[in-house]
């Protein structure tokens, strides 16, 4: 049997006492594309960050070509011929392609000045070898996403590299760009590079990878040959058996004959969202499922006016509305709770009360001043209603836990009494206890007659919340499923993979 080029043995890592990786083994052979899969929080990124020296393992060894190596920082990783392709973090938009590729490693003239000519020549040669058509003198900021990625790869290969880690490399690429990237990866493979390929997309993995390793809850679950595995097995490995208690689904009652609150007709955004139609009824919770890049985020931003929209109609409570920006959407009765609530949803330095009344300041005014009595009452009401754990309404929000912050964001939008509430990844970054509470709050809101749209990459969460699930794949809404008809997470996994 062929010996592995890289093997990571017995790797463990904990953050603040919480185990993220539990004695994981992982190995890659020369000339192999090895997929690394697992749900959110399975430990994929942590394992790769240990390999690339961003984190150090608490326990375990890393061998390269049978030699034990120490990787304590990114420099060590580079010395051991390990490179990682970041989504967009390591390129500088204001420098040219050649300047980026050779940054900190530029050729020098005899008197120690930068020899840009030489760098440009080398870059030209490198790009030619890789059969990529990019002008070395072009500013990286002027390149399209696909070329951005290839520049990134070229940069990794410009220094001696044996092991290449790619993290969701196709997430922001079009289909054609993906094809170009894949032929590129095949070429690298034939040149003997070992490639670790992190992705959620099964079709891609089956197309490009030789072997696959699956992690779940920080543990190694399986390593299989891609030829001897099918989608069902992979999904089984990823999902496991035990369902999270926090995410138990309860069938809810709501009037099914009411007129829709929100109608989305033929929504189109370039190639990202293609003719999406759906309705949302009062008291209903609808989930949108899909992989990264499937168009779910773009759909929601187009509806809410925070992202581009090419065509399509939006009807709220039977009236067609024109939504060009977020204030239009709010006026129409929509509310969006963004994914990154710490940045987009809250003024962290302000008190609970100030955050809650921010969107409704105009209603809180008495003449020229803010009516404090009224504001306090509104704030106190929400703290009680949503069970926000805080000493009082004057406490600064950054002192509260993630779950309670999320509830304040909810309160903030509810204060304006919207008829449609859109939640983007509602429980990301909150602890288990708070997750359950948020799920309960969302259900209560639906019970009170609000229509709720949830997008989430965590399928258990979608399954726990939704009455109905819409599945998006490559910009289209390919499936609509009633929650009660979905028996297992596997079914939904199948659907979002586009099979």
């Amino acid at each position: 049997m062929e010996k592995p080029m890289l093997s990571m043995k017995n790797i463990s890592k904990a953050f603040n006492g919480i185990t993220v990786l539990n004695s994981v083994d992982f190995s890659v052979k020369k000339g192999e594309v090895h997929a690394l899969m697992g749900g959110n929080g399975a430990g994929k990124s942590t394992l790769m960050k240990i390999l690339t020296g961003v984190y150090t393992a608490d326990q375990g060894e890393i061998y390269i070509d049978d030699q034990l190596v120490e990787i304590n920082n990114t420099d060590d990783a580079r010395k051991n011929y390990i490179s990682m392709i970041f989504q967009e973090f390591s390129l500088i938009p204001t420098l040219t392609v050649a300047q980026n590729i050779f940054l900190t490693r530029e050729d020098k003239t005899s008197i120690g000045l930068l020899n840009d000519k030489e760098c440009v020549e080398k870059t030209r040669k490198l790009l030619q070898e890789l059969e990529v058509d990019i002008d070395p003198n072009e500013l990286v900021g002027n390149l399209g996403v696909g070329y951005w990625q290839m520049t990134e790869i070229a940069k990794a290969l410009s220094q001696e590299t044996k092991i290449l880690v790619m993290d969701e490399p196709t997430a922001s690429l079009t289909k054609k760009e993906t094809e170009v990237l894949f032929s590129f990866i095949n070429q690298l493979k034939s040149k003997g590079y070992a490639i670790i390929y992190i992705s959620h997309r099964m079709d891609e993995i089956l197309e490009i990878c030789d072997r696959i390793t699956i992690l779940r809850d920080g543990k190694h679950v399986a390593t299989e040959d891609c030829k001897q595995i099918d989608l069902d097995m992979v999904i089984q490995y990823i999902v496991g058996s035990g369902m999270d208690k926090a995410f138990e689904w309860k069938e809810r009652e709501y009037a099914k004959d009411a007129a829709p609150v929100l109608e989305v007709k033929n929504l189109t955004v370039g190639s990202k969202v293609q003719g999406v139609n759906f309705n949302l009824y009062p008291g209903e919770i609808v989930g949108i499922a899909g992989l990264m890049g499937s168009g779910r985020t773009e759909t929601v931003s187009a509806i809410f006016g925070t992202g581009p929209k090419d065509s399509g109609d939006i009807v709220v409570n039977g009236k067609p509305v024109t939504i060009k920006n977020a204030p239009d959407a709010i006026k129409a009765g929509l509310a969006l709770i963004p994914e990154d609530r710490r940045v987009q949803g809250l003024v962290l330095e302000h008190s609970v009360k100030d955050n809650i009344i921010l969107p409704i300041l105009s209603k809180m005014q008495k003449g020229f001043f803010i009516d404090n009595k009224k504001a306090n009452k509104v704030a106190n009401d929400f703290v009680r209603k949503l069970n926000i754990k805080t000493d009082d309404i004057y406490k600064t929000t950054n002192l509260l836990s993630g779950g309670n912050q999320q509830k304040i964001v909810l309160a903030k939008w509810l204060a304006n009494d919207p008829s449609v509430l859109i939640l983007d990844e509602p429980t990301i970054g909150v602890d288990i206890g708070a997750k359950t509470e948020i799920v309960d709050v969302v259900r209560e809101l639906a019970d009170s007659g609000k229509a709720i749209l949830v997008i989430s990459s965590e399928l258990p969460e979608l399954l726990a919340l939704s009455d109905r699930v819409l599945v998006m794949h490559e910009g289209r809404m390919i499936k609509e499923m009633q929650r009660r008809d979905i028996e297992t997470e596997e079914e939904l996994q199948h659907a979002i993979q586009g099979f």
Binding site: T74, D75, R78, F86, F89, S90, L91, I92, P93, T94, L95, Q99, N100, L103, T104, R105, E106, K108, G112, L113, L114, E131, V132, D133, I134, E138, G141, N142, L143, G144, V145, G146, Y147, T174, K176, E177, V180
Partner: protein, 333 residues
């Protein structure tokens, strides 16, 4: 051969079809400062022809008046290219003129004076740099603080009294002298400009300065020691401000706490007018010098026109806002 050719064609075709690449095109906004500078010169040459605006004497005078701003602007170009700012340069120039003058007065000679004057600048630059990099305080606040502290220090050490310098060599070399028809301040300006230009365009330090400002985390990932780069640009800015202090002292034959007062605004304006992006990543040394000359020319023209200081300030402010608004690309980037 055949297959290789078709292969190449294939990738070229893929490239032009699959990815939308913005075309490189001429953008006049990149050259706004040069156009504006030429415009200003032409305007004053026509309207002030009879008042001697175009005389050699007056043009050399503009160079003399702008030399300090240009020199501080060169170093500031590096600071702003990293995405930082240094508001303390004017105060440093004042303090350095005094420490240099006091040293010379105390009998340590020209060399001593120069060393202490430059050392003063370096020291304040070091404090700025360490506070920004080690304590992670925004440079705007750090240098706002040192600007005040250093200005106060400059007033305090001589109780606001000027300190005369009688060392003729010092006064000649640092400001007052002419080599033939060429003012020594022009020599310093040209010399420093050449060095700064090569430093920014042709050395790793310059490249890493631009990288740090272009995307700091990306630069760090690529192995740039961004904290060190920042420390160095603040040291450089302090040093050049100290040098400008020496030039003020040499030109006026004295050290004085009012030298350099308000210079930080002219310096930053010159850098931004020149085309360096306030958000870092894009910097131009030549642009800075042109920006500085333009501000100097406007000042000079307005004085010849007979406008008083208040009117000069208003017009200068307006021109800066207009120029930056027209060159807005740098800000949107």
């Amino acid at each position: 051969m055949q297959s290789k050719d078709s292969n190449l064609n294939g990738t070229v075709a893929l490239g032009s079809h699959t990815v939308s690449r913005k075309k490189k095109s001429f953008d006049w906004r990149d050259y706004i400062v040069y156009l504006a500078f030429i415009g200003v010169i032409i305007y004053f040459s026509v309207t002030l022809h009879d008042q001697g605006f175009v005389s050699t004497d007056n043009l050399l005078n503009i160079i003399r008046q702008t030399a300090m701003i240009s020199l501080m602007g060169l170093a500031m170009t590096f600071v702003i290219s990293t995405g930082e700012i240094d508001l303390s340069v004017g105060s440093i120039a004042a303090l350095s003129s005094l420490t240099a003058a006091l040293t010379i007065q105390a009998g340590f000679g020209m060399i001593g004076g120069v060393a202490i004057g430059l050392g003063t600048g370096l020291l304040v630059g070091l404090v700025n740099g360490l506070l920004v990099t080690k304590l992670a305080i925004p440079s705007f606040l750090v240098t706002l603080g040192t600007m005040g502290t250093v200005a106060g220090l400059a007033m305090w050490i001589t109780d606001t009294a000027p300190v005369p310098i009688v060392d003729a060599t010092f006064n000649f070399v640092f400001g007052s002298g002419d080599i033939g028809p060429i003012p020594i301040l022009l020599v310093w300006t040209v010399l420093a400009t050449i060095i700064a230009h090569f430093l920014l365009r042709k050395t790793s330090f310059g490249r890493q300065t631009l990288a740090t400002g272009g995307n700091e985390s990306a630069a760090r990932f690529s192995g740039v020691k961004t904290q060190r780069i920042k420390l160095l640009v603040f040291l450089g800015s302090g040093f050049m401000a100290g040098f400008a202090g020496l030039l003020y002292a040499g030109r006026m034959h004295a050290g004085r706490f009012t030298f350099g007062e308000g210079d930080e605004l002219s310096v930053i304006a010159a850098v931004i007018l020149g085309g360096t992006s306030l958000f870092g990543g894009v910097g131009t040394v030549i642009g800075t010098v042109i920006g500085s000359l333009m501000i100097g020319t406007i000042n000079n023209g307005l004085i010849i026109m007979g406008l008083d200081v208040s009117q000069q300030m208003m017009i200068k402010g307006l021109i800066i806002i207009l120029a930056v608004a027209f060159g807005k690309k740098a800000i949107k980037r």
